[in-house]
Symmetry: C2
Subunit: 407 residues, 2 copies
């Protein structure tokens, strides 16, 4: 008995007709003899409406009541999909978070799944039925409904697949898979058949918004084979798997880029111990997320320049915070620029190949693109460049690493 | 500590502004030091929308899924009212049916409450909080959500009041109480301060649509003092209580009438044992509810005429059923008329007074109104008359029994 978990998002279940279409897709898997659990989001628009009611009732509202209210959205979809499946002759029943149960901690509005008891769902399979599970929700230690935060249905699906030891977790989205880079910028971008968890994780956090970072991390931890595929076309998508499953890795699997970055440089900071910690402490206190950091010393070694990046939404706040600390930090002045983009090459093959970063630097140099900041991880090299070169850089790198689709 | 249960229907919680108004009404009771449980319906229109989705998914749908879907309506209201109360500084939390728990049988879509565990709500009171309970829903023996059927929120409220041994159950409606008769027909109709369960039960089943018959029966069984009052005005309503609470009963408390009746007469039925059972068996089989029945013998004693009433919606079906059995029943012919009305006088005082029915007959005779069928119970006399005399009869009886309001 092969267990498959399938997850359909808000657009895929946007109205009753679409829910009926989802039922047809599920039936195909059932007809193949699979045991299927389906995780559903709220019908698109419903969550926003319910959140709107909460805000209308009180701008600051009890997160526990918020959870009870918005969880109604997925509750409705799970019942409707069960009915639609039954109408096709497929035996099915709905499960709410508390009925599975999907146990979470008590951080209402952004709960973390702690344990899923697979017994009720496995019993449902044993009776030859499809289990339709309301995504995004669970039950807290106090017996009250919790929600996992926006995008939590992906996490519900992956966690359920792990608990059920499912063969695969299929995430249906409005794109048909994961691409080597954004096809809107590089027409020769290819859909990948497979990608490793680590690569997907880097790409997700770098702006490829196909899967929530959180669900990829969960899939990696529990080695859940996760497929990203289209809700609207019946085509294989991209399988996110463990490195072992991929026989020969590409050195670089994909090129990611992330706009909405801003660069801040603090010029002339006295080069004394503890000064760097002092620079970043007030930013952390204000929950400003700092990404890339580089430090360069002046010629005489008495002062340094520190450059870091933050989300462009946070740039003004970051500058205010640093200005308020000018006397303590004793820097000379601040420079900043939000007209920058972070371009990254990602690939697990980097670990066993040398000269990968060099190819990136050479390629950008050939095109006359200046690199402002560099940061690297084991499977990624990121550079900050002027935003106007985004397309040029991404296309050139895509070609340089041999990712272009053949005609 | 006085416990009060308050129930607000769909119109009273029709939008977030109205929910905020309900919160204000609840706060008044809390400020008096009462422990308050509030039972809420779905926002008006929401249940119909959810039922519409179910029908769109499949005309014949699983009642268990239907229950999970429509229960979302009350779930949303209970969370929103809790938020609105908190916004007024009143500590409150929502309870869904399964959280109380309100245990029901497994008749999905029309479940009966079997047991309510009061502990969680009493604990909530002990913490100084208002309990906001989603009406209309419970949990079945299989751990799935059940609903009590339309109007079930009144039943939820009365059952909860019984379980909590509440001082009173306040049912807020769009009328301000129970009247001696319909004020649209009799301008001199008076709002009653008190009415007995038995009288309310007769009036509810006779067409005074203030309270569901089912919730009155439950209130009577558990002696729950139930008040019917207006959602929109801050005035005392009508208290439905045990007979012992009313020091001096009116002989007749109210005049009820019910349109939508039809009379069927089967003429010339052989007067042999078992024939009456044979007449009503096919009607029962078709779930046709027969109300009043009279039988009159012919002069020679060989045949009888049987007259009975059914709902006017059922008249044509009743006639078809009886026509199909003509050979077995051996009657001569059928006569029928749906232009009739049932007028009833109701009052527990009848038990200890004689001549009450006589006043009714005399009053109708004076106005030249012919009585077609009579039926009586311990606290009620009903007559079937021609529909065109409805207003005349109700007004005359209202005066004859001394019910008219003083100017």
């Amino acid at each position: 008995m092969t267990i498959i978990v399938k997850k359909f998002g808000g657009t895929s279940v946007g109205d009753v007709d679409r829910i009926k279409n989802v039922a047809k897709r599920v039936k195909i898997a059932v007809d193949k003899g699979h045991s299927v659990a389906v995780v559903v989001s709220a019908m698109s628009g419903v969550t926003n409406q319910l959140v709107g009611y909460c805000r209308e009732a009180a701008m600051l509202h009890d997160a526990r009541e918020y959870d009870a209210i918005v969880a109604a959205g997925e509750q409705i979809t799970s019942g409707l999909l069960s009915i639609a499946l039954q109408e096709l002759g497929v035996s099915a029943r709905s499960f709410l978070g508390w009925q599975v149960p999907i146990r979470t901690n008590n951080v209402h509005g952004a709960a973390r799944i702690e344990e899923i008891d697979p017994d009720a769902i496995l019993e449902c399979f044993a009776e030859g039925r499809v289990a339709v599970v309301a995504g995004f929700q669970g039950i807290g230690p106090d017996g009250r409904i919790t929600t996992l935060g926006r995008g939590g249905s992906d996490t519900s699906a992956v966690a359920l697949a792990a608990a059920l030891k499912a063969e695969r977790c299929d995430i249906y989205t409005d794109v048909d898979g994961v691409y080597t880079t954004d096809p809107r910028i590089v027409p020769k971008a290819r859909k990948m058949n497979m990608v490793t968890y680590e690569e997907m994780l880097e790409m997700a956090s770098l702006g490829a918004k196909v899967l929530q970072t959180r669900s990829v991390a969960l899939a990696m931890r529990h080695k859940v084979r996760t497929q990203v595929l289209s809700s609207f076309e019946d085509l294989p998508g991209t399988l996110v798997v463990d490195e072992d499953e991929i026989v020969e890795n590409q050195v670089v699997s994909g090129i990611a880029f992330s706009k909405g970055e801003a660069k801040v440089t603090m010029v002339g900071v006295p080069d004394v111990p503890g000064r760097m910690a002092a620079v970043f402490r007030p930013l952390a206190k204000e929950s400003i997320n700092v990404d890339m950091i580089v430090q360069t010393s002046s010629d005489d070694g008495t002062t340094t320049d520190v450059t870091f990046t933050v989300g462009s939404d946070d740039m003004n706040r970051a500058i205010s915070v640093l200005r308020a600390s000018k006397e303590t930090l004793e820097y000379d002045h601040l420079a900043y620029d939000d007209n920058v983009v972070k371009v990254s090459i990602v690939g697990v093959g980097m670990r066993s190949h040398t000269g990968v970063a060099q190819t990136m630097f050479d390629t950008l140099a050939e095109k006359g693109i200046n690199i402002q900041v560099i940061s690297t991880s084991e499977i990624k090299v990121s550079v900050l460049i002027d935003a106007e070169y985004t397309e040029l850089a991404v296309r050139a790198l895509h070609t340089a690493y041999g990712l272009d689709a053949e005609d």
